[in-house]
Amino acid sequence: MDKKGPKEQLTTSKDINLQYAIKGLDLLAAGEASSNIKHTLQLIGFSPAIIRKAAIAAYEAEMNIVIHGRQGFLKAVINPKRIELIAEDTGPGIHDIDLAMTEGYSTAPDYIREMGFGAGMGLPNIKNCADELTIDSSVGKGTILRIIINNY
């Protein structure tokens, strides 16, 4: 799980690196990391369409950590060519990634669903916004999502 993918080598000193600690079940603070990433992208001057994709992917990834992960990080590596979002958690992991990618499938508890989360749309939403999505998950250990949004 700690292995660096080949994508890691593409980062350069010109990248902007952001990293936010995310606390599981801290619903009041949920969304702040995504909001900060969005504001940074706006300051840099990405197009509204790219910012929307990144904001949605970041928020869904952040909420997955809040809802399922005990704790984790949301990271963004930004350069003019692309935005990379990495969401890492020490949650329960995903048993069946294909099933988790199915719209409507959710393992969120009832009280979370009553708040309008856990509709089973998080990962599908991320996939729709991402040019590349990789999910690396170990049951009982955690999950790493790597999301790439190309700037074109």
Binding site: L27, E32, S34, G116, F117
Partner: protein, 111 residues
């Protein structure tokens, strides 16, 4: 259409950000599922929901919605109003159920 026109037509109560009622509203989205709103609401829309918790503000802010309208007489949580003020998202309430509020808005916005 200006948000202020919607407030007047619905007789909605403005819970915060009254200074932002001149902003444009282009369309409306009705849903109580946050991911559904994230995926499908267009920017500059007003969002009608029964959800009253502060995460609605994060969603509205991230995808540039104009305002949130809480329907059927529900009220936003205090933390929701505080967050809405910080993010400058007007929060309105109405006693109308979602369908009736949406019906009125559909007539106004589809002209």
């Amino acid at each position: 259409m200006k948000l202020s026109e919607i407030v007047t037509e619905l007789g909605a109560e403005v819970k915060c950000c009254a200074e932002s009622l001149q902003r444009e509203v282009k369309w409306c989205y009705c849903s109580d599922l946050l991911s559904d709103v994230m995926a499908n609401a267009e920017k500059d829309s007003i969002w009608i929901t029964l959800q009253t918790h502060p995460n609605t503000i994060a969603v509205a802010s991230l995808i540039n919605l104009s305002a949130i309208l809480i329907s059927r007489g529900a009220s936003p949580d205090n933390e929701t109003v505080e967050k809405a003020i910080r993010e400058n998202i007007p929060v309105l309430t109405t006693n109308l159920p979602t369908f009736e509020a949406a019906g009125i808005l559909y007539k106004m916005l589809s002209k």
